[in-house]
């Protein structure tokens, strides 16, 4: 098993129900699968799904908060992955970021189309309040995760929360404004500054 890159995607299977052992794929492995999918390899597509669907479903469900809805969006996501696989360029994006962006964009587009379908929930706040570096991150020393967390920690608490609520939970500017009891324009400015600061902090 390679260990040089982060492994955010991992099928939730135990070795006993998967003869080839647990699927722990690096972003590079996933990139190779996408390349095969680009050649219409359906077996590779199924492997790609097995390796990535739990993470993508988690991502989409956190935004939509409705399992049936999330399932529908995940279907669209994998159809898009099948259709866009030829456009994936391993030189320009990591396979994981590429797939995750398709999932997040689909979920957020859906949410903006049907905002009333999502139940507003205190869970969102609890989720981001209880952020801890995951055990996996600590063990594997995922550098990118550590760097981003370090840079987020440098932001004021409210702004950290805003970035997480927007990116992970799909909150709109309006929802952020209501929750933080600020005018929308103030939220916009805060986000703008937070993103600039993050970019500076992450710059090599």
């Amino acid at each position: 098993m390679e260990s040089e890159s982060p492994k955010p995607f991992e099928a939730q299977r135990t070795p006993s129900d998967h003869p080839e052992g647990a699927l722990l794929l690096t972003s590079k492995d996933i990139g190779k699968l996408i390349a095969k999918v680009a050649q219409r390899d359906r077996a590779a597509f199924a492997r790609l799904y097995e390796a990535t669907a739990p993470k993508l479903l988690g991502t989409v469900l956190r935004i939509l908060r409705d399992r049936a809805w999330a399932d529908d969006v995940i279907q669209d996501v994998y159809i898009k992955i099948w259709q866009k696989a030829t456009q994936f360029d391993a030189g320009r994006a990591s396979a994981i970021a590429w797939m995750a962006s398709i999932a997040r964009n689909s979920a957020i587009d859906e949410l903006r189309k049907h905002p009333a379908r999502r139940t507003v929930s205190d869970d969102d706040i609890e989720q981001i309040a209880s952020v801890q570096p995951t055990a996996q991150a600590q063990l594997e020393g995922q550098q990118a995760v550590a760097s981003l967390n370090r840079c987020l920690d440098e932001l004021e608490k409210d702004r950290q929360d805003m970035v997480r609520l927007a990116y992970l939970n799909g909150w709109s500017r309006d929802q952020l404004a209501a929750h933080f009891d600020q005018p929308v324009n103030t939220v916009k400015t805060w986000l703008y500054r937070a993103l600039k600061q993050l970019k500076r902090c992450l710059a090599p």
């Binding site: 955010p8 970021a97 709109s172």
Partner: protein
Amino acid sequence: MTDHNDLDTLAAEFVLGTLPAEERSVVATRRNEDPELEALILAWEARLAPLLDEVEPIQPGPDLLARIEKRLDELESSAVSSNPVTQGATVTELTRRLRRWQWSTAVASAAALMLVAILAFQPAEEPQSFVAVFQHDDQQPAFLLSVDLENRQLNIRPVTAEPVQGRSYQLWIKADELGPNPRSVGVLTNNMTIDESALRQYDPELLKAATFGISVEPEGGSPTGQPTGPAIHGYLYPTGEGKSGHQL
């Protein structure tokens, strides 16, 4: 603030997900034509993606992959509509027909399922002959099927398809008038031919609107009367004026 800064902010907020819906859709379109914007978006995706480490993976339901694969099958069989060789109103009509083509549930669950193909060729005057192309692996035509409507004669020609030991190819027809399931036209002989008059019982109008498919079955044909084996995807080729048809 420079233009670049504005663009970078736009990319950042697009990736964060906080752009209002209309702006969001403008950016989604614009990124396809604006390499600078696209690059900025990719950079922000890379910056923020590590946040997803905080997302708890959730095991999908056991049937979700099958649902996706079924949709892929449907998509692949209607991919004809995006084939650059096909054009115009004929394509629209054929796409519509393809969507109507649905095998039974039992068939849909059979591993590699489906194929479909249809008639192309609709010249300005009353069309009398049609060609369907059945295609393996998106590359090579496997079979060519032509139908002479006037005489209701049918001709099937293997292009790259070869006989498979212990298996038979079977031709199917599906039309609204024939009910929801495909109906067998006939089993191809070992020489890959089929009875020329196998379509004689069908009305020309029905044939014009029908769809055809070829599946791989146990020797002698499907034991169930419905397609059971892996099938060959069909892609359409118009043969009007012989232009693209000659490529075959």
